[in-house]
Symmetry: C2
Subunit: 416 residues, 2 copies
Amino acid sequence: MRAYIITIGDEILIGQTIDTNAAWLGAQFNKRGVQVTKILSIKDEEAAIHMALDEAFVFADVILMTGGLGPTLDDITKQSLCTYFNVGMRLSESSLNSVEKFVKSRGYFLNENNRQQAMVPENATIIPNHMGTAPIMQFEKNGKYLFSMPGVPFEMKDAMEKSVFPFIESKFALKPVKHHTVMTFGMPEAFLAEQLESWANELPEFIHLAYLPSPKGIKIRLSVYDTNIPEWEDRLEVNIEKLRKLIPELIFSETDQNLETILFQSLKKHQLHLATAESCTGGLISQLITSNPGSSEVFKGSVVAYSNEIKSKILGVSENVLESEGAVSEEVVRSMAENIRFLFHVDCSIAVSGIAGPGGGSDNKPVGTTWIAVSVNGKTESRKFQFGSRRDINTERAAYSGMYMLFDLIKRTYEQ
Amino acid sequence: MRAYIITIGDEILIGQTIDTNAAWLGAQFNKRGVQVTKILSIKDEEAAIHMALDEAFVFADVILMTGGLGPTLDDITKQSLCTYFNVGMRLSESSLNSVEKFVKSRGYFLNENNRQQAMVPENATIIPNHMGTAPIMQFEKNGKYLFSMPGVPFEMKDAMEKSVFPFIESKFALKPVKHHTVMTFGMPEAFLAEQLESWANELPEFIHLAYLPSPKGIKIRLSVYDTNIPEWEDRLEVNIEKLRKLIPELIFSETDQNLETILFQSLKKHQLHLATAESCTGGLISQLITSNPGSSEVFKGSVVAYSNEIKSKILGVSENVLESEGAVSEEVVRSMAENIRFLFHVDCSIAVSGIAGPGGGSDNKPVGTTWIAVSVNGKTESRKFQFGSRRDINTERAAYSGMYMLFDLIKRTYEQ
């Protein structure tokens, strides 16, 4: 089974919107053993839509199209589908009813725009949209299927999960694919690859290896696309086990979960409670930890101390130390990490103070200089990092480095 | 001038990486008056790369390709370019030198992977990579240009700004395009469109209108692609002025800047200082405000109170009120907003308490129930919101709603 994704919208081509839909769809297909062949992002333009459909109906069995279904004039997907299939429009009563219900639940009344949204190409089969007002449509051509969905991510995702994937799974026998992910933190890609070189060279050909670097760490992905190979599972496991022994200190997980989720699970497992004291990260660590549902079980809160006054007044860092060492110093982050534990009555803490940039650097402490301390019960560890020149990347690196330091200290304290 | 973007990498097709490069490139082209025609995301596969290049060399004058240049085995872009152009590889001395310098500055020594990275197709012109180790390459075919760049966003961006765009601008006469953006917050798209219907119908045909909704608000974009129309500037301005008068209470900006930047600028302009007291947003407001360079001028910090204990002990919310009204209540957010102002010595505050979900809801207070209060000097305003069922969207909506409430209160207090 081959799948194409077509995302429609000038806003994607002019970069006003980042196409997260395609990534989500790609991941969902992949889970089900289908690798998406191609993603096309095209204009809100009839000719562009027709050209993309022509290509997709040749190279794919299933085509997922998103965008261009809104209630406003710039949305032309439905009209373009009518001309592509050479059909007219009809009113979908089921769409109109569900739009009416939806609109009323938000305290508004049906208007002409909503009514226009319930018009669909004659040959479309309607799929319910539980999350919004645009109809979701299915088309068939020579045994191939096209789904046209709204660009609003949660509307599209809901329809995919409830209707489109179950339909696809009923029509096509999907071939299982095995991906195994090993998440690492703390070493750049080229050096990780060097350290793993002989291991990689000895991998059997049917195991595909990829390195995926980001400020959140480097994912090592091992994939098996042909599960007819004899004993593939055992042979994969043997090679994963070798990898574990080569870089034990760099691996934090063997799932696709991010460090914020792995750290949350580790805190929960050991019944530990966390608070953070953040300066340059501005609350990012707190925000990442609380992105986990149920995080209130382990996370009590945070003080974002964005001025020296707050560092001393709320977090109790000595004014003399702030004066003599500067806010970005080992003494200050250690004091932040220890004091927030006391103040919030918790076992664990992360404290960060750095120069995120672009301003604020000096010869001694250039932009990117960052001190991080983590504390688990009585034990506090601190480390200096020299990140780069970009504010957003420095902040993200600092947050992930802090979370990794704490994860690692908990592991060494409770699991060895 | 027509541009194509080709992003290469299985990680994009299987959704492990979101393609932010294409969005950035699209926005940069758009600024320079070029609308990208199409974005193709394809596999790390020779045949897929060749097919994409065949199409792009027909329909585009400039092709930007990212990805597949890493030091590891899964990266095959360079080999595929060799077979496409029917050339061999050569060692680029300039690349090797800059790789060596780069690697040494990070405290490592040159290894075989680094040396492999300095091998390039014979017909490539090398563009310096100041931010990493992969060479950036330029190719020419029939007066059309192809640039092959790393997928690492900051390496690609640096090369585009310093080398590729200046080159493109020297080769092609770019046609100016005018976009005007009006940012609104607080009304769903269908109802905003209804309210603006007659205004939209009366727009001259050369002004293109688009609505771009997100949890951050709805962007209204007016575009003029043909600047040969007589008096287009005056006629655009007249129509923008009409729009301003129709929905003054919904407009927060006429730039592409986000609410977090607009609020930061408003605080700076009025010499106000902000602190936040956050529960369900988990520090997101603090993190958004501090994403602005220089935010320490106006932002003192935040208390993330993720437990009732912290709400009472640190923020001084009455235990009786927490008990009788619950943490998600008007009394509690008002008290959080007022106390954080006092505690952090600031003029302005935002406080949020809500049920982000998926757990924690009840009949009286279902998931999505959120109270927000904002305070400017003596004046505190509070409002209840009923968001939906998704934790990430609820958190984002709460953060943006809180920032909008404060922005609006500052405007009413100091500008009217």
